[in-house]
């Protein structure tokens, strides 16, 4: 536990600049308080997880950052500009992939660019690159129903990458794929964070997944929704993907998070 506390105290001050900041955001659904006066900052070029029990408002927060939902009060600042709706500086990866079932992989990956009015040859060249990058080379002409769940999410990821926005919002992207695929995805995600200079905001309900992939973990608690703590693992990020899961700090953080969340799980 001591290592975790040390990690926690090391978390401040941040030396990175802030890509996305959430300032005093509240959101109610009727009489239900989904988010209450939430303030949170996301450092540029890093992956921040939003982790918490169901009902803690993590997906709501992500959709507010995406501009898909309007907050009742407070504001979101992305790269210095307040969010008023969806914009090209953010792209979204959906839990259920949200692919067009009538379009092949190429069109799906290029769809974000298509909606932005990019010419066909240009957007397909870009899409082809990202299809290869996510490991789907050769499947350009396949349709979503011909792909496995994992491959479909790779399409969703490639589509989000192809629009080349600075901030990637991932809403439980691996929860609908099987365990082994999920592990591969997590490793690939680490490589992606390292190679692409993008800010990742990652919603998950898996403690192990959050600790494994994150530079920073925001623990959200429900009723009323709030950020209970922010954890920044320090030591295992540089040790290589195959060593993370047996690193003592990794195990300590997982235990600590579970200890603080267990009382909220029905």
């Amino acid at each position: 536990m001591s290592q975790t506390n040390k990690a926690f105290s090391d978390a401040r001050p941040l030396d990175q600049e802030i890509a996305v900041s959430v300032r005093g955001v509240s959101k109610n659904y009727g009489s239900v308080v989904a988010l209450k006066d939430m303030t949170l900052e996301f450092p540029r070029g890093q992956l921040t997880s939003l982790l918490g029990p169901s009902g803690c408002g993590k997906t709501t927060l992500l959709k507010i950052i995406a501009g898909l939902l309007k907050p009742d009060s407070g504001e979101i600042i992305v790269n210095g500009k307040p969010v008023v709706g969806p914009g090209p500086n953010r792209s979204f990866v959906f839990q259920d992939f949200a692919l067009l079932p009538w379009a092949n992989v190429m069109r799906n990956v290029a769809f974000g660019l298509e909606l932005r009015g990019v010419a066909k040859s240009e957007r397909e060249a870009k899409a082809a690159k990202y299809i290869k990058d996510v490991g789907l080379g050769g499947f350009e002409k396949a349709y979503p129903h011909e792909l496995s769940g994992g491959m479909r999410q790779r399409v969703g990821l490639a589509r989000a990458l192809a629009v080349d926005s600075r901030v990637l919002l991932l809403d439980e992207p691996f929860s609908a794929v099987d365990e082994q695929t999920r592990r591969k995805f997590q490793e690939d995600l680490l490589a992606l964070v390292a190679n692409e200079n993008k800010t990742f905001i990652f919603v998950t309900h898996s403690i192990e997944e959050a600790v494994y992939v994150s530079d920073q973990i925001a623990i959200l608690l429900p009723r009323p929704s709030r950020v209970s703590e922010i954890i920044r693992p320090t030591s295992f990020r540089s040790k290589g993907v195959e060593n993370i899961r047996r690193d003592p700090e990794y195990l300590d953080i997982v235990d600590e998070i579970w200890a603080s969340l267990r009382s909220y799980v029905e």
Binding site: L68, P86, P88, F92, F94, A98, L100, L115, R116, Y143
Partner: protein
């Protein structure tokens, strides 16, 4: 259908009914049912006649125009109703009334409003076909996966793009189902229009043959009409099957 391991060709039940028809006709039980062979003989005689071709042309014009308006008005209205709570509240009662209303009773009103010509026939045809297309499109749009809508929004789709590139395609299986039923109802509409409004086209032929007790002629025209409606319906059914691969996984 399979019988003892042999696959019967589609519509082979029609052979049985055709045979029964022929037997009843040959027995001369009623003037109303002439032998099927006579009906077909008459069919081949009249099918090339100017009167028939003229009727076919008049009916096809009114029918195609009516179907065209049902589709180009019905699908967008259905999409808007499926997407907008307000429009849905406003229009749904009317759609529900008209989809079950005895439209034939409205035809005299249409004659008063729009005269005795082609215009009234086309409007009658449209009124027969359009409501079920609206309802089916609306149902199709309402069950679109929410995240597909959010996806289009998050990538900055303009309203037009969202309609043309996402909502329409996502609702296409239901839309085609609605169009298929709407087209069949439009066949009824065009004939009723031609019988009641101005005696033209197939409606005139039916009127002529029935009032002169030319039952072979009557049945021959009915068979042609059935064959046309059946082909269109089968074609739309074929399109429906082509999109069924994604109907289950939207």
């Amino acid at each position: 259908m399979w019988i003892k391991g042999y696959k019967l060709p589609a519509m082979s039940s029609l052979l049985i009914w055709g045979l029964l028809w022929e037997i009843i006709g040959q027995l001369d039980l009623t003037f109303f049912v002439p032998p099927l062979s006579n009906v077909f003989a008459t069919l081949f005689v009249i099918i090339g006649s100017p009167a028939f071709l003229n009727a076919l042309w008049e009916t096809a014009q009114a029918f195609l125009a009516g179907v065209f308006f049902s589709i180009v008005i019905g699908i967008p209205v259905g999409i808007f109703m499926g997407r907008s709570r307000l429009l849905d509240e406003l229009l749904l009662p009317w759609v529900n009334i008209f989809v079950s209303a005895p439209l034939t009773a409205l035809v005299p009103v249409l004659m008063v409003l729009f005269g005795f010509g082609m215009k009234s026939i086309i409007i009658t045809t449209t009124l027969f076909g359009i409501w079920i297309i609206i309802l089916n499109t609306r149902a199709g749009v309402r069950q679109i996966n929410r995240s597909l809508v959010e996806m289009a929004t998050s990538f900055g789709a303009s309203p037009l793009d969202a309609f043309a590139k996402v909502y329409f395609w996502a609702a296409l299986p239901e839309i085609l189902g609605g169009v298929r039923i709407g087209v069949i109802r439009a066949v009824k509409g065009v004939i009723i229009g031609q019988l009641l409004i101005s005696i033209v086209g197939f409606g005139a032929l039916f009127e002529l043959y029935a009032s002169n007790f030319l039952m072979s002629h009557f049945w021959a025209v009915l068979i042609v009409l059935f064959a046309l409606a059946f082909s269109i319906s089968e074609f739309l059914g074929y399109l429906e099957r082509k999109v069924s691969y994604y109907a289950a996984s939207r």
